[in-house]
C-alpha cells in the first residue's frame, strides 16, 4: 500500500472505528505478523478491530473503494499461515466480536459472533446437557470464526465430525461489502448448501460475522483409557484392531516417546518415560455400553502387545489426561525454541508406513521429530523441532515437511486434515488436484470474491481474479512478502 493511500484510508477508517480499534504503528503490528506458522512473516499495514457487522461492512466497502486487499483474523492460532496478510494490506481482527447472541436449547442451536473463543460456548452451556462438539486442541484460545474459516477438527471429531458438521448457518460480509445470510437455524434450507461451501474456505469468500451452530447432547458416560506400548508399531496395530472391531471411539489419540517426555516434564502426570508410544482412548455413550466397549478395547490393546492399559478413574484424572493432550504443543517449548507442526492425513491402515517414513525422514535431515496426533482418523501431526535463528535448520525442516506430506499423498491421503492450506501448503495444491479441479475451484471463488481482494494468494496456487500468475515458493518462507 502506498503511503498516500494508507494515510487517506486510515483517515476514513477513523470515521468507522474508535482510535483503540485502529492499529498502524509498526510496534503495534508485530503481533499480527504471523499465526502459529512462524516460518512466514508479514505484518499488515493496518489492523482494525471492529465490534459489529455494520463496522465490518464499512471497513470492507472502504477496502473495496481503495482497491486494497484485506484479510480476516481470529485468534491467530492457525498453523498454516491462513491469516497471513500476503503482500500487506488491511487486517480485520474479529476478536472484539465475541458475544454469544442467543441459545435455543429446544431447537438445539446457538448464535455466536466470530470472535467467541471456542471453549467459552461449551462453558456457557454447562449444566444444560448440551455442548459445542468441535474441540480443537487450541480451544482455550481459538475463535469459532477461525474454526469456520479452517473447518477445524479436534480429538473428538472422530465420532462427532468437524466444524462443518455443526454449522447450520452464517451471516457473512462478502468482499464487495454486501451482507449475505447463508443457511439458517432450520435444516434443509432450499437451495445450494452455501454454508457447507463457505466453511473451510479460509477467509477467501468473505468475512463471517455471525455463526449459527448446532449444539450436541452431552454423552451420558465416558471411559478414558491410556494404553502404554513398547513401540509405535504396536500402538498402530491396536488402532487397527479397535476400528476393525466396529468400535467408533469418541477419541483415539497417539503420543510418541518424544512428546511423552516433554509432557511429563510439564505436567507430572506419571507417563511412562520408557514407553515407545501411548494411546489416549475415550469411548462415550450410554452407561450400559461404555463399560462393554472399554472392556473390549482393553482386550484389543493387550492383544496388540500393550504393556498396560490404565483407566482414568475420576473426572479429575480424565480432565488432567485431556489437559496433557491438548496442551502438548505448549510443552514443546521444553524441547526446542521453535517448531513446525505438520497436518497430513493417510488412510488409517497406512499409519505404520507413514510413521516409519517420518522417523526415517527426520534422521536423514537431522531434524528431531515428535508425534502427537489424531490416530483414529489417520490425521498425523509430526512436530519438527528447530531453531528459527538457524536458516540451515529451517531449510531442512521445510524439506522434511515436504517429503512427509508428499508421502501422505502417495499413500492416498491429503496434506491437511484440519489446519488448512494457508500459504504453507499452497504449492501442494497442484499435486493434490488436477488443473480441472483447481479451475472449478477458482470459478467457485469468483462467485464470492470476483475482485480477489479478500485474502489474496491463499488456498489456490493462482492469484485469483487478476493475473492468475503462479506463486513461486522460495525456501525458506519468503512468499508472504511477495
Amino acid at each position: 500500500m502506498s503511503t498516500v493511500i494508507q494515510h487517506e484510508l486510515i483517515g476514513r477508517f477513523r470515521e468507522v472505528v474508535d482510535d483503540d480499534a485502529l492499529l498502524h504503528a509498526p510496534e503495534e503490528l508485530f503481533v499480527y505478523e504471523c499465526d502459529g506458522y512462524v516460518v512466514e512473516k508479514k505484518a499488515p499495514d493496518v489492523v482494525l478491530l471492529p465490534t459489529s457487522t455494520e463496522q465490518v461492512v464499512r471497513i470492507v466497502k472502504l477496502c473495496h473503494e481503495f482497491g486494497v486487499p484485506f484479510v480476516p483474523r481470529g485468534a491467530g492460532t492457525s498453523l498454516a499461515g491462513g491469516c497471513l496478510p500476503v503482500g500487506g494490506g488491511v487486517m480485520i481482527a474479529l476478536t472484539r466480536m465475541h458475544r454469544i447472541l442467543d441459545v435455543y436449547l429446544r431447537d438445539r442451536y446457538a448464535v455466536v459472533e466470530p470472535g467467541l473463543v471456542n471453549i467459552h460456548l461449551t462453558r456457557h452451556l454447562k449444566g444444560t446437557g448440551y455442548h459445542y462438539a468441535p474441540d480443537p486442541s487450541s480451544q482455550g484460545a481459538c475463535t469459532i470464526g477461525g474454526n469456520v474459516a479452517t473447518n477445524s477438527g479436534g480429538p473428538h471429531t472422530l465420532k462427532y465430525g468437524v466444524t462443518v458438521n455443526h454449522v447450520l448457518g452464517l451471516e457473512v460480509v462478502l468482499p464487495d461489502g454486501s451482507v449475505a445470510e447463508l443457511g439458517g437455524p432450520a435444516e434443509d434450507v432450499p437451495g445450494y448448501d452455501l454454508t457447507g461451501l463457505f466453511v473451510g474456505s479460509e477467509g477467501t469468500f468473505g468475512i463471517v460475522t455471525k455463526i449459527i451452530v448446532r449444539i450436541t447432547r452431552d454423552p451420558a458416560a465416558y471411559r478414558t483409557m491410556l494404553g502404554v506400548f513398547e513401540t509405535v508399531a504396536d500402538a498402530t496395530r491396536a488402532i487397527s484392531k479397535i476400528i476393525g472391531a466396529g468400535i467408533v471411539p469418541a477419541a483415539l489419540e497417539m503420543m510418541d516417546q518424544g512428546i511423552i517426555e516433554a509432557l511429563e516434564a510439564a505436567f507430572h502426570f506419571g507417563f511412562p518415560l520408557d514407553a515407545g508410544a501411548v494411546l489416549l482412548i475415550e469411548v462415550d455413550g450410554l452407561e450400559v455400553s461404555v463399560a462393554d466397549e472399554a472392556h473390549q478395547i482393553v482386550k484389543l490393546c493387550e492383544d496388540a502387545g500393550a504393556r498396560e492399559v490404565r483407566r482414568a478413574d475420576s473426572d479429575t484424572e480424565r480432565q488432567l489426561l485431556w489437559k496433557c493432550r491438548k496442551q502438548a504443543f505448549g510443552a514443546i517449548g521444553r524441547l526446542s525454541p521453535s517448531y513446525c507442526t505438520q497436518d497430513g492425513v493417510v488412510p488409517r491402515t497406512k499409519l505404520p508406513e507413514i510413521l516409519d517414513f517420518i522417523t526415517e525422514s527426520g534422521a536423514r535431515h537431522n531434524i528431531r521429530i515428535v508425534n502427537v496426533f489424531h490416530a483414529g482418523d489417520g490425521n498425523i501431526h509430526p512436530i519438527l523441532l528447530f531453531d528459527e535463528r538457524d536458516e540451515d535448520q529451517i531449510a531442512r525442516v521445510m524439506k522434511a515437511s515436504d517429503e512427509i506430506l508428499g508421502k501422505c499423498l502417495e499413500l492416498g491421503g491429503s496434506v491437511t486434515g484440519e489446519h488448512g492450506i494457508g500459504v504453507e501448503k499452497i504449492n501442494f495444491m497442484d499435486k493434490l488436484f488436477q488443473p480441472n479441479d483447481l479451475a472449478v475451484m477458482a470459478d467457485v471463488r469468483m462467485a464470492f470474491n470476483p475482485d480477489g481482494l479478500c485474502s489474496p494468494r491463499k488456498m489456490l496456487p493462482t492469484a485469483g481474479a487478476c493475473g492468475m500468475e503462479s506463486i513461486e515458493r522460495s525456501h525458506p518462507g519468503k512468499q508472504a512478502a511477495s
Binding site: 435455543y104 429446544r106 431447537d107 446437557g129 479452517t150 473447518n151 468437524v162 462443518v164 458438521n165 449475505a180 445470510e181 447463508l182 439458517g184 437455524p185 432450520a186 435444516e187 434450507v189 432450499p190 437451495g191 445450494y192 448448501d193 452455501l194 454454508t195 457447507g196 466453511v199 473451510g200 474456505s201 447432547r217 487397527s240 476400528i243 467408533v248 450410554l286 450400559v288 455400553s289 462393554d292 492425513v345 488412510p347 488409517r348 482418523d377 489417520g378 492416498g412 491421503g413 491429503s414 486434515g417 484440519e418 492450506i421 501448503k425 501442494f428 495444491m429 493434490l432 488436484f433 488436477q434 480441472n436 479441479d437 479451475a439 472449478v440 475451484m441 470459478d443 467457485v444 462467485a447
Partner: protein
C-alpha cells in the same frame, strides 16, 4: 415422488466418466441442454425443464472403485443402486446410515443430488456428513474432483457440500467417496399413540434431555400412521397421533433404551404403547422411509422449520386433512395433501397458511411432487431465501449457458433470463 416415463431411446448412456465428459463437452459446444438421469425416482422434482434436454444416464457407471473396509470408506461410481451399495457394505458389516426411499431403483448420485434422507437423520445425519470425495462433470464437460479418500481433509474448497442437493444443476456426479459406519447389532422402534398434540409437545421437550439416545424421533398424524402401519403389515394402533422413536445398538443397549424411553414417556399418558423389535422392525423402518413416495395424493410437500414448532404445524396441517410425517427433532415435515383437492387454486389455498407458518418459524415449504400442470403457479422451492442471488451467481459461474437441468431449480425464470442473455 411419482415416476415420469422417459423416452429411453434418446438417452446417452456412457460406460465411463471420460466418455460422458467428452459427450457433455460436445453438447456444450452446440449449446444443447442436458438432463442427468440416475434411478428415475425423482425426475418429476422441481420445476419442469425450461428447454428440451439431451438425457444422459449414469446407469452404466456402477463400479465399486475401491472399498478399503478397514479404513471405513468406499469409492463408487454414482450410478450404483442404493440397494447394491447397501449389499456390498453389509458383507463387511458396515453401512451408509441414510434412509433412501425406493432404494432398489434410486442411484447414489441421484440420492446425493436430491439430498434424500429419512427418519434416521436425527441420529445419523445426512449426505453432507458422509460424502468426503466427489468427481463430477460440469456443464462444459470438465471432469473435476474435490475432497479425497480420507475421512478428514480440508484441502481445497468443499465442492462435495456444494453438489449435495444441487439437483443436477451444477454438475453431473460421476463418482463418490463415502465415510461409513459399522452396522449396528440390532434396532427397535417404540410406537406410542397420544390423545392430544399437547402431550406430544411435552414429550418432545422431555426427549431433549432423555437418558436414551434415539436415532429417530417421528411424529405421525392418524392418517399417516394408518398408512405406515399397513405398509409395514404391522397392525399398530393408529387412531390417534403417534410418536415413534427408533434406537440402534447392541442388544443390551436396545433393551435399556426401550425401557428408558417408555418410562420417560409415561407422565405424558400414552394411550397405547407398542414396540417393534426383531423381525418386525425392518418393515416398519422401511415404511417410515417410503412414506414420502408412497401416496397417490395430488401434492406432496416438505416443510423445514424450527423443531420447537412441530406440533403447532401438525395441528394446522391435520385440520386441513393433510397426512403428515414429521422427523420431529429435525424440524422436517412431509405432508400428503388430501385427494379431495382437485385444482391448483385449492392446492395453493391449502398450503398458503402452512407456508406463512414455516416462514415465521425460520423455515420454508418445498413442493416435492404435484401435477405437472400446476407447477408454474406454485412456489415449488418455497419463498425466496436471502441467499438465492448468491446461488444464482454460483450457477452462472459454473454453467454460464444454463445447460444443466435448465429452469428446474430455484433459479426458475431467472435462468431463462440468463440463457436469453447468453
Amino acid at each position: 415422488m411419482t415416476t415420469t416415463t422417459v423416452e429411453t431411446s434418446e438417452e446417452f448412456v456412457p460406460a465411463t466418466p471420460a466418455e460422458l465428459s467428452r459427450f457433455v463437452a460436445e453438447c456444450s459446444d452446440m449449446r444443447m441442454p442436458i438432463c442427468p438421469i440416475g434411478g428415475r425416482t425423482s425426475l418429476n422434482y422441481g420445476y419442469p425443464l425450461a428447454r428440451e434436454c439431451q438425457k444422459v444416464s449414469t446407469a452404466k457407471l456402477t463400479d465399486i472403485v475401491d472399498y478399503p473396509s478397514r479404513d471405513m470408506t468406499i469409492t463408487v461410481e454414482a450410478g450404483i443402486r442404493m440397494d447394491e451399495l447397501a449389499k456390498a457394505l453389509k458383507a463387511e458389516n458396515q453401512r451408509l446410515p441414510i434412509d433412501i426411499a425406493q432404494s432398489y431403483r434410486a442411484s447414489l448420485g441421484g440420492a446425493i443430488a436430491t439430498n434424500t434422507s429419512g427418519p434416521r437423520r436425527f441420529g445419523c445425519g445426512t449426505f453432507r456428513d458422509y460424502v468426503i470425495g466427489i468427481s463430477a462433470i460440469d456443464a462444459g464437460g470438465r471432469l473435476f474432483s474435490a475432497g479425497g479418500r480420507v475421512v478428514k481433509n480440508v484441502a481445497g474448497y468443499d465442492l462435495c457440500k456444494m453438489l449435495v442437493g444441487s439437483l443436477g444443476t451444477l454438475a453431473i456426479i460421476t463418482q463418490v467417496t463415502l465415510k461409513l459406519r459399522p452396522q449396528p447389532e440390532t434396532s427397535a422402534l417404540v410406537w406410542q399413540t397420544f390423545d392430544s398434540y399437547e402431550q406430544i409437545d411435552n414429550l418432545l421437550g422431555r426427549l431433549l434431555t432423555s437418558e436414551a439416545r434415539p436415532v429417530a424421533v417421528e411424529v405421525l398424524d392418524a392418517r399417516a400412521a394408518k398408512l405406515i402401519s399397513s405398509e409395514a403389515r404391522a397392525d399398530l394402533p393408529a387412531d390417534n397421533p403417534v410418536v415413534c422413536l427408533g434406537v440402534e445398538g447392541t442388544n443390551r443397549e436396545i433393551e435399556w433404551q426401550v425401557a428408558k424411553l417408555k418410562h420417560e414417556s409415561k407422565p405424558f399418558e400414552p394411550i397405547a404403547v407398542c414396540e417393534a423389535a426383531g423381525d418386525t422392525t425392518e418393515p416398519l423402518w422401511k415404511a417410515l422411509t417410503e412414506f414420502e413416495t408412497s401416496s397417490d395424493d395430488l401434492l406432496t410437500f416438505k416443510a423445514n422449520f424450527l423443531p420447537s414448532r412441530i406440533v403447532e404445524f401438525c395441528k394446522m396441517a391435520t385440520a386441513s386433512g393433510i397426512a403428515i410425517q414429521a422427523h420431529a427433532a429435525n424440524g422436517i415435515v412431509i405432508g400428503h395433501v388430501a385427494d379431495e383437492i382437485s385444482s391448483v387454486e385449492q392446492a395453493a389455498n391449502t398450503i398458503a397458511p402452512l407456508r406463512r407458518f414455516t416462514r415465521q418459524a425460520h423455515g420454508n415449504l418445498t413442493i416435492l411432487q404435484c401435477d405437472s400442470t400446476w407447477k408454474q403457479s406454485l412456489p415449488i422451492f418455497g419463498d425466496p431465501e436471502p441467499s438465492w442471488p448468491l446461488m444464482r451467481e454460483l450457477k452462472s459461474r459454473l454453467d454460464p449457458h444454463n445447460l444443466l437441468n435448465p429452469g428446474q431449480f430455484i433459479h426458475g425464470s431467472i435462468n431463462d433470463t440468463m440463457s436469453a442473455n447468453a
